[in-house]
Amino acid sequence: MGHEVIPIRGLWRLFSSDKDDANTIPDWMENDMTQRRAVLQALGLASLAATSGIGLAACSNDPAPPQEDGSGPVELRVAIFSSNEGHLEVLNSIGVAYVAAHSDRVNKVVFDTLPADAYITALQTQIAGGQSPDLAWVFEANARQFVDGGAFVDVTDTLKQAEGYAFDDVVAEALRVWQQDDKVFAYPFSNSPFGIYANLDLIKAAGGPAPRELLDNGEWTWGRLAESAAQVAASDSGLTGFQAGVDPFDGWLDGLGTMWPQWGARPWTEDGTDCQLTSQPMLDFFGWFHEQIHQTGAHAKPGEVFDMNSGQTGFKIGLLSGSRLISEAGFDWDFLPLPEGPAGAHPIVGQSGIGVLSQSSKIEAAKHFLAWFTNPESGAKLSQFFPQPRTSLLTVENLKQVSPLLTDEMISGTIIDQASRGTTKQGHKNLSRITDKVKVHLDAYWPSPNADLAALMEKACADIEADLE
C-alpha cells in the first residue's frame, strides 16, 4: 500500500458509518478500474459543464450605464454608509424629487449602501477598481484625505450659484474641514455636536452632584466631571466612571480629540506641518487623562470593556444620535455640553460630508444633484435624521424631529448653541499613517503608571515628522 499525503482512505473510514470494518472502503476506490473510470468521467463532465457555466456567466455583463456625453439623462450613484430604512426613505424621496424636476439631466439616483465598518476601504476599492460612485458620503476624519488628496472636486460655484441655495445660511465653521484655499469640496450634511451622556442614577447612587446643577452653576468642568466619575467607579467594581466616546487606547485621535481642545492643545499646527504633541497644553492634557486612569480611577483602564447602554458607565462622550439607544436603557439620563477645561469651553462637532468624486464619469450631473441634495428644502428633510449646518434649520422644532427624547433644554444648550460655535476634530491628509505611528508610543504610555510622557511624545513627533507636510 502506498502512503498518502492526504489520507483519503482514513478520511473515508472516519466518516463512514461502519467504523470497524476496513472493507467499507468502496470497491471503486481500491480496485475496480472500470467503475472508477466511469465515476471519474462523470465527474469530469460535470466539472466541464460547471466551468463552462462559470465562463459564460463571467463573459456576460450588465449593459454599461449611460455616460455623461450630452446624449441623454444619466444615472447617478451615491455611496453611503447607512442602511437605516428611515434614512433611505428620506434619501430616496430627495432623489425622486430631483429626477422629477430634472429628468433631462438625470433619470435615476441610486443610494448605494456600503458596509459601515469597512466603508472607506470599500469605497476606495471601488474607486481603485474603476467603479467609482459619482458622489460619496465621507466621515469627517477622512475629510483631509479626500479633499487634499484630490478625491473630491471643487463645488464652490455650483453651490453658491444654485437657485434658492442661500449659501450664506450655512455655518461657516462647519465648512472649514471640507475646504481648501477657500474652495468648498464637500458639504457637511450631518453636523452634530459632541456632548456628555450622564447616567443620573449611578451618579446619584454614588453621592455625586447632578451634572445639570453643575452646568447651571457654572461649575461644569472636566475636573468636576472626573471627581464625580471617580465616585461612580469606586462605588462598584462592575462600573466605570467615564469613557471617551471611542476607545482612546485603540484610537487616540478619535477618542481624545474632543477633549484636548478644552486644554488649548492640538496635535499639530493648523496647516498640518508641525507636531504639537510635545506642547505644554498637550502634555498637561495627557498627564491629566493618565491620572484619571491610574490615580483617581475615573476612566476605564486599557483593555477594560464597559457599556453605557447597559448601565455600567457614569459619563460618556457621545453624539445626539446616541440618545435613541440610551433612552431604552432604563435609567435616568441627561445630555450635556462638553465641560470646560483649563482653556475654557471649546465645542466640538462631528460631521459627515458629501462630495462629488473626481473619478466619476458624470461630474457635472453629480455637482448639480449635490446642490439640490444640500439646498434648504432637502436640508429640512434630512434634518429628520441629520442635524444640518444651516442657521435657519438649527431650531428646537427641527431638532425635536431628530431626537424627540431630548428636552428643549438639552437641544438648545447642548445642540444648537454648540453646533453654531463648534469646530471639528483636527484631521490630516496622512491621518492614518500619523495615528498608527503615534499609537505605537502611546501603547507604551497607557499601561504604565510611571511612563515618561515627554520622552514618548518627542519620539512620536520624530516618527511623524515626514508625514506632516
Binding site: V5, I8, L14, G44, S47, G150, P302, G303, V305, Q359
Partner: protein
C-alpha cells in the same frame, strides 16, 4: 495501463475548474499585484505613476518591516509549536472505538466551522482586562494579565485563540492518517515483541509522516497569512508587537492609501511564504517516510 484519449479528456475536464479558478482568481491577480508594486498608486487622486523598484528599496529603510516580519515568523512558529503536537495528542486520544467518542471528535472539530470573525469577537470579550477569563482567575485569587494590551502577552494570546480555532482540522487529518494505518502492521510489530511505545515510534509515526508534512505546511501557511484575529483583537498593537505582514499590507494599502507600496509588501510576503514552504518541501526527504 495505457491511458486513452477519453482518459486524458476526463483528466483535463476535472482539472479545468481548478486551473481556471487559480488562473482567474490567483495567478492573474498576483501578476497584477506585481505590476502595481512597480507604481505609486493613489486611487483617490487617480494617480498611477511608474516608480520601478522604489517600493522594494523602501522596505530596506522602513522601520516597520523588521518588527512585522518578526511578529509574522513568531506568530507562525508559535502556532506550529502549539497546534501540531496538540492535534497529534487529540488524534491519538480520539483514535479509539469507545462509545460516544464521535461526540468528542465533533466538539474538538466544531470551532473549525465557526465563522472566524464571530469566533474572535467572542474571544475579545473573554480576553478583556475585566473579561470572563480574568474573572475566573480572580475567583481563584489570581490577578490575570491584560491579555491583549500587554506587549508580553498579546501575540501568544492571539496565537492561542487561533490554535483553539484550528486544531480540530489538523486533528481530523491526523486521525484519518491513524485510521489509514493497517492493523496488520501494528499486530506484526506487537508479535515481534515491540512495546506500545516502540510500535508508535517505529511503525505508526513513520507512516504518518506524509500527513505530518501536509499539516506542517498548511499550518505554517495559515500562520503566515493570519489576518482576522489581529484585525479584531489587537489592530497590530500593543507597540506593533502583533503587526503581522498581512495586517501591515492591509493597513498600508487600504488605510494609508499606498497601493503601490502595499502591493510590494504583498509580493514580499508571497516570497517569504514560498521560501519557507520550499524549505519544508526540500527537507521532507530527510524525514518523510517513502521519500527519497
Amino acid at each position: 495501463m495505457k491511458s486513452t484519449t477519453i482518459d486524458k479528456f476526463t483528466g483535463a475536464a476535472m482539472a479545468a475548474p481548478m486551473v481556471l479558478g487559480i488562473g482567474a482568481f490567483g495567478l492573474v491577480p498576483f501578476l497584477m499585484v506585481v505590476w502595481y508594486s512597480l507604481h505609486e498608486w493613489n486611487p483617490l487622486a487617480g494617480t498611477f505613476d511608474f516608480s520601478g523598484v522604489a517600493n522594494y528599496l523602501r522596505m530596506f529603510t522602513d522601520p516597520q518591516i523588521p518588527t512585522s516580519v518578526g511578529a509574522t515568523l513568531g506568530f507562525a512558529g508559535l502556532l506550529m509549536v502549539l497546534n501540531i503536537p496538540l492535534a497529534m495528542l487529540l488524534a491519538n486520544l480520539l483514535n479509539t472505538g469507545l462509545k460516544g467518542i464521535t461526540a468528542f471528535r465533533v466538539i474538538y472539530f466544531a470551532p473549525v466551522v465557526v465563522s472566524s470573525v464571530a469566533w474572535v469577537v467572542v474571544w475579545s470579550y473573554l480576553l478583556a482586562a475585566n473579561g470572563g477569563i480574568n474573572a475566573v482567575l480572580a475567583a481563584i485569587g489570581i490577578d490575570g494579565p491584560n491579555w491583549l494590551m500587554d506587549r508580553r502577552t498579546a501575540l501568544p494570546t492571539v496565537v492561542v485563540v487561533q490554535v483553539i480555532k484550528g486544531v480540530g482540522m489538523n486533528m481530523i487529518l491526523f486521525l484519518a492518517a491513524l485510521q489509514g494505518i493497517p492493523n496488520e502492521l501494528k499486530e506484526a510489530a506487537a508479535l515481534d515483541g515491540a512495546s506500545r511505545r516502540r510500535v508508535w515510534q517505529h511503525v505508526i509515526l513513520p507512516l504518518m509522516t506524509p500527513t505530518i508534512l501536509l499539516v506542517m505546511i498548511l499550518t505554517m501557511i495559515g500562520g503566515l497569512d493570519t489576518f482576522v484575529p489581529v484585525m479584531v483583537l489587537t489592530q497590530g498593537g500593543p507597540e506593533g508587537t502583533t503587526t503581522v505582514l498581512p495586517y501591515l499590507v492591509y493597513r498600508t494599502t487600504f488605510q494609508d492609501l499606498e497601493f503601490g507600496y502595499g502591493s510590494a509588501l504583498g509580493v514580499m510576503m508571497f516570497v517569504l511564504v514560498l521560501g519557507l514552504t520550499a524549505i519544508q518541501w526540500v527537507a521532507r526527504r530527510k524525514w518523510v517516510h517513502d521519500e527519497v
